[in-house]
Structures are given as structure tokens and as C-alpha cells.
Symmetry: C2
Subunit: 168 residues, 2 copies
Amino acid sequence: MANTNGPTRERIKEEAYLLLQEKGLAGLSMRALADRLHIKAPSLYKHVGDKEEIIADLQARGISEFAAIIQQAGKSKKSKALAYRKWAKENPHLYEVTLRTPLLRSRIPSGLEEGVTHMIIEITGKDHEHARAVWALMHGLVDLEIAGRFPENADLDKTWKRAIELIG
Amino acid sequence: MANTNGPTRERIKEEAYLLLQEKGLAGLSMRALADRLHIKAPSLYKHVGDKEEIIADLQARGISEFAAIIQQAGKSKKSKALAYRKWAKENPHLYEVTLRTPLLRSRIPSGLEEGVTHMIIEITGKDHEHARAVWALMHGLVDLEIAGRFPENADLDKTWKRAIELIG
DNA sequence: TTAATTCTGCTAACACTGTTAGCCTTGAGG
DNA sequence: CCTCAAGGCTAACAGTGTTAGCAGAATTAA
């Protein structure tokens, strides 16, 4: 077999990202990933330790994207909150792997998580406890919405409006 | 083989509940469940349609338990909130299958979910939107706590206190 | 009582999952 | 030119949910 153009670690992780976005976390199998790279699954292990490494990379990517989205949003808490919701709804699979999957702390660049925490505190303008409560509220809303936990006829725009009032 | 004492559907689901509580959702496999009942995995399908039916039953059970816990708690929003947290922390596996797993609506007794929604609205004493925001806040806090998403040194008692103030 | 049928266990198997062992070809460096 | 590592490959293992088909026991019918 021609060895030209073998997939580098970066290439693999990029393709994992695309596969995640297309097929979701359940569709992200080592064999499906290998198929995209036109190699067989065991060959992936020549470039990557295990699947956790790929998941951890996606989590890091999710955290970074998330941070960027929030920072780019308007300055008000309201627009930050709505940006959070919008990003989550547009990237449900990335949201799932990043925020609904146990965080692989030891395999994620240190400082990433702390950076986000710090950012939230800055936005809320108050202390750690308040920031955590705000984050929990946003996360809870998104999580229940993505999971289809609210009834069909629920007016979630209104619900978010109310939630934002709570943290005003 | 003696056919006396074959596991009924109820017996299977009870054992599934115990297995879940002991080993968690990941440990709840058809083979492990069958082992407990001293039969082989394929035999389970003589009593149960598929694994989803078992999961749906556990979700129904989780919802019922949850409703009971909240109702038994003190009347104040604070004690209801703390009861929510306590129950979730004491039954993390049941919480996972009930609230962190896609709800199998079509396989759950109708009215169960609506009953809980109604209950929350009664407690908050306001409208649907407010009730949903409150629920999202509680769920978000529990979800992030169970997932180990808050840093080690976080004072979650304080965080909950703050959260309760938000919905006061 | 005997015959027929249903119930409920079993084994073997299939398609999937992540992962390891071991082999072999290709390309690069001394 | 030879060596050696890089990076493919197949075969395999243990695990998952699930189905097909068989066999014996229990229940029902004649």
C-alpha cells in the first residue's frame, strides 16, 4: 500500500470532529472514523492512544468554541445567554460530548476549564457561587431542551426570557 | 430444568432496579441482569420486549420516586430544592437513567410526566415558564455536580443557597 | 389418560463496540 | 545497499443487544 498521505494525528481528530457533527456521539465509532480516512480501525492506534484521547480533544475543542462564542456575543447578560443557547442548539453533538459527557480533565490542556470559569465570573460580575448558579441555569435549560424534555407546546423563548430575568 | 419459580416480568424489572443501583447504567447489561435471575440473557426476551422496555420502566420509577420525594419534603421552596438535591445525590444512577437519558415517552405511563410538571408549577406558585426555569436551575446544578463538573474546592452548599435565593 | 399446545428455558449465532498481537510493505537515512 | 522505523493490514478477543431454532416442562383439550 502506498504510504503517501497517511493520516496524521491532527487529520484524524479533524475527521472525528466532522463525523461527530454529522452522526453524533453514538455514530462516532473507531471503525466509522477509520472508514473516512480510508484505513482500517486498528491502524488508528498507530496515531492515537485510544478513543478517550479523541473524546478529550473534542471536549477541548468544545470548550474553546464555547468560550469564543460567549466572548463574541454582545456585552449584556441577555445576549450572552442567548448566544449560549444558540450555540448549543446549533451544535448539539459537540455540546453533548463537551458538557454531557464526563470531562476527561487529565487529558485536556490545563487552564482551559479555569479560563471559562473565570470568564463566567467576569460576565456575571459577582462571585463564584453566583456564577455557578447562572451557569447551572443555562446548562439546565439547554440540557432539558436538547433532551426533548420540555413538552412540545412549551414556549421556550418565554422560558429563557424568564430565566434571564432571574439572573438579571 | 425445573421451570418452577421462573422470573416474572415484575421480578426482572425489580432486579434491574437493584442492579442499576449497585452497578450503574453502564453495568446494567442484559447478561448481567440474566445472571442475577439465574437464567441466560436470551431467556429475558421471553418476558420482556427489549432493553428499552426495562429502561422505560426505570424511568417511570425514577419519576415516581422523584415526585414522592418532593411532595414529602417541607413546604418551602428551599426544602423542596434541597430534597431534590439530596435525592439526586443519593440515587445518582437512577437520576442518570431518569433525567440524563432520553425519555422514552411512548413507553411510559401517560400522565406521569405531566403530573410532575403540574406539581412543580404548584410549588413555584407561578406559571409554566417560571416553573421550567426553576426546574432547569435545579437540574443544571445536580447535573453538573454529579458529572463532577464543578472544581474540587467549590462550596456547593453556598452555590445552592445562592440558587435558591434566585428563585425565591 | 392422552394428545396438543403454550411457556420458558437453552445454545449458537450475528452484527456491532473498543482494542491488541503480529505480520508485511514502504520509504528514509547511514 | 542495508537497516529500521512508520504505518498499513488481518485475525482475534471480550464485550454489547438481539434473533433463530430447539427441547422439555406445564397446562389445557379431547
